[in-house]
């Protein structure tokens, strides 16, 4: 049964991906992409990686959909565009590459081991109970630091492209809609609750800063979508401070560890440290993601013109 399940998931992933690439209408491609995320998270579940499934659920179902949907904007009006030419010239090399890689995969050694055993051996030294969190925060903490840096740089890049000083300068007053207001009343408290729950879970079970941050970010985006002014009330200095807090926490850790123990990125053996990092990272991930979604170029002038040229 398991095998059939794997096969079906694999085939449908490939089929949906192919449709996404080949479908004419952009809107359909985006809807299919949301479905693709769902199928992927079923695959993560099947492969016993609940962390990834949770992250994929949060990103794929929520934020990626909103980002793409917003970016699509007027574009969906260009229906039935001709499919790109040069089909075979491009398809055959890709097919060849796929065949080559598929052949290579047969050579994956049967006694492949990975780093799993080594991690479980070293786990007691980290004072963390859950191996994925231990890898993220301790063994490969440098990666996590830089990952927060990537988020931050993406926000800086968006500001640069927008030529805006602060995210709030580029935020639009969202249309107030009754249904949306009603939905957030229902969902927002739940989101905050679940965000906190995932954060708390991260120390000993699947969950953690990133997943929690995405859920909080979704809450923020939803607030804005429903036209709630509360996000705009946050002073822009605070906005900036919250945005960089996760990165700064690691930065302080990195520099202070140089001072007291001559070794980069070591951390004190204290629960407080883990808590601090997780909270700061969650907050800054949430704020950065909100900024990334909301920093959309003003829609009025440009799109009017765009629509004229397109039609």
């Amino acid at each position: 049964m398991g095998l059939i399940f794997d096969l079906i998931i694999g085939l449908s992933l490939a089929g949906v991906a192919w449709r996404i690439v080949r479908v004419r209408e952009h809107f359909q491609a985006i809807v299919l992409f949301i479905t693709f995320g769902l199928l992927l998270s079923l695959a993560w579940t099947r492969l016993k990686s609940p962390d990834i499934a949770i992250a994929e659920a949060a990103v794929g179902a929520g934020l990626a959909g909103v980002l793409l949907m917003d970016a699509l904007g007027t574009l969906s009006s260009t229906r039935n565009q001709p499919l790109p030419g040069r089909f075979l010239q491009l398809f055959i090399p890709c097919l060849f590459l796929a065949g080559l890689m598929a052949y290579t995969i047969l050579f994956i050694p049967a006694d492949f081991q990975g780093l799993g055993p080594m991690v479980s051996e070293a786990l007691p030294d980290t004072h963390l109970e859950y191996p994925v969190t231990a890898v993220l925060l301790d063994f490969r903490g440098y990666d996590t630091w830089l990952e927060l840096g990537v988020l931050l740089v993406a926000v800086l890049g968006v500001l640069c492209v927008r030529q805006a000083g602060t995210i709030k300068g580029s935020m639009l007053p969202a249309p107030a809609e009754p249904v949306g207001r009603w939905i957030i009343k229902l969902l927002l408290p739940l989101m905050v609750l679940i965000g906190g729950y995932l954060l708390w879970l991260g120390a000993f079970a699947p969950g953690g800063a990133f997943q929690a941050g995405v859920v909080l970010a979704s809450g923020g985006v939803m607030l804005w979508q429903a036209g709630h002014p509360s996000l705009a009330l946050l002073h822009h200095v605070w906005w900036k401070i919250l945005m960089i807090s996760g990165f700064v926490f690691f930065l302080i850790l990195a520099s202070s560890s140089l001072l007291y123990n001559q070794q980069f990125m070591t951390h004190p053996e204290a629960k407080m440290w883990i808590l601090g990092v997780e909270y700061a990272a969650t907050l800054s991930i949430a704020i950065c993601l909100i900024s990334l979604v909301l920093a959309s170029p003003a829609r009025n002038q440009g799109d009017q013109r765009a629509r004229k040229t397109e039609s």
Binding site: V119, L146, I241, A254, M265
Partner: protein, 490 residues
Amino acid sequence: MPELLILVPFTGALLCFLFPGHIRDVIGLLCAVLTFVASIILTGNIYQNGPIRLNLGGWKEPLGIGMCVDGLSVLFIFLTGIVGLLVSLYSVSFFSKANNQSLAKHFWPLWLFLWGSLNSIFFVSDIFNAYVVMELISISAAALAALSGTNASLIAALRYFLLAMAGSMAFLLGVGFLYAQTGTLDMYLLGAVTDGGPLMAMALGLMTVGLIMKTALFPFHFWLPPAHGEAPAPVSAVLSALVIKGSFYLLLRIWCTVFQDTTASPQTATLLGLLGLTGVIWGSYQAIIQNRLKLIIAYSSVGQVGYLFLLFPLVFITLDPAWKIEAWTACVFQTISHGLAKAALFLAAGNLIHATGTENLKSMRNIADRLPMTTFTLALAGVSLMGLPPSGGFVAKWMLLQSILASGQWWLAAAPILGGLLTAAYIFRILSQAFVSDDQISCCGHVSFVMEKSALLLAIFSILIGFRSKEVIFLLSEQVYFVIQGGIIP
């Protein structure tokens, strides 16, 4: 010490993000000076004491992430330090001009982030970490390329970014293949694995393609000229002097540390060499037929990057270690002298454009007597690019030619010879315009002292580096050879 090279720029970037106005310039400049000093000290340390390895968080590889600093990394760090400092100096003046003022607040944080992540890619010793750092570099570089906000620059930036992302994805899949074969992510442990199966070969292929896309080797060069040509002058200087060197450095590391004995085949190396040769000729030819100053310089990057790839057939086919070192030195020399000369050219071009208000080659007439310093800078940097003695470019091309002859791969000699001629053609084309006097064109706006001098200093350094070849050879042969060969630092 290597940690400071990452911490200082990152801290500076955050502070520049938080503070407004002139404080930002002061902080940015201060961080630039500090980082520069740190890179000089680090270079000195490695020169005297040999390579070092750090284990971050106190975890030994393969569990933790390591950082490795050897002669090769410090040479790149050194280049980044010099170019970074002078470009920062230049930008303080450049962005204080009225029409650029609003750009400064985006430039400083992104540039310092870029600097920090470039430094960290030169220390990288973990392949997944390399992926994350590369993304950091791509995003900040693409954002900087879009800084001027014109249509062309936005499109060029996005084209670059899509290509860079695709390259990263290929690299990531390559990481997966390597992990499947070996179960480790540390480069030096990977290098110790002796059996190179199809998985390793596929990983090599994916990573190489991913990285040459970012380095703008010949068939993937199309994104480079618009992206570098449309950005503001200091950004162009950084992009072509440093950013493409970041991915090239990673390519070198991966070929020499991870795959060198097991998987890297002579055929692939020859193919890379051939692409490099084509790139040299095609890029230089394109540079000759352009009419806009910055596009000429940008196409010239395509040509100069081609030289770097001649290293692969030389190192992976030749067996004599002495000539291998010669080829190595030639390649590193080419990297450094090209970085310095290209940054100087772009900054000088920025000065000219600032003074004349246009970048059409025709309207650059008359500048020789109005802007003698800038013209001199163009000439000096041109000398280094062409490879006239005693510049760094000359040493690079001379050693390249020597090792080509020693290795018996005669066809490669076309690159330094033809490439040199073609380079001379476009450099003289720029300079000849500068000396034509034309009464119809009235010239020129005022160019500030700092902007002129920082470009000039870069050009002078690109010449002076030619006198310091002994130290470079020492750094490469004594202090890194062991590391390049896949040995693990005790």
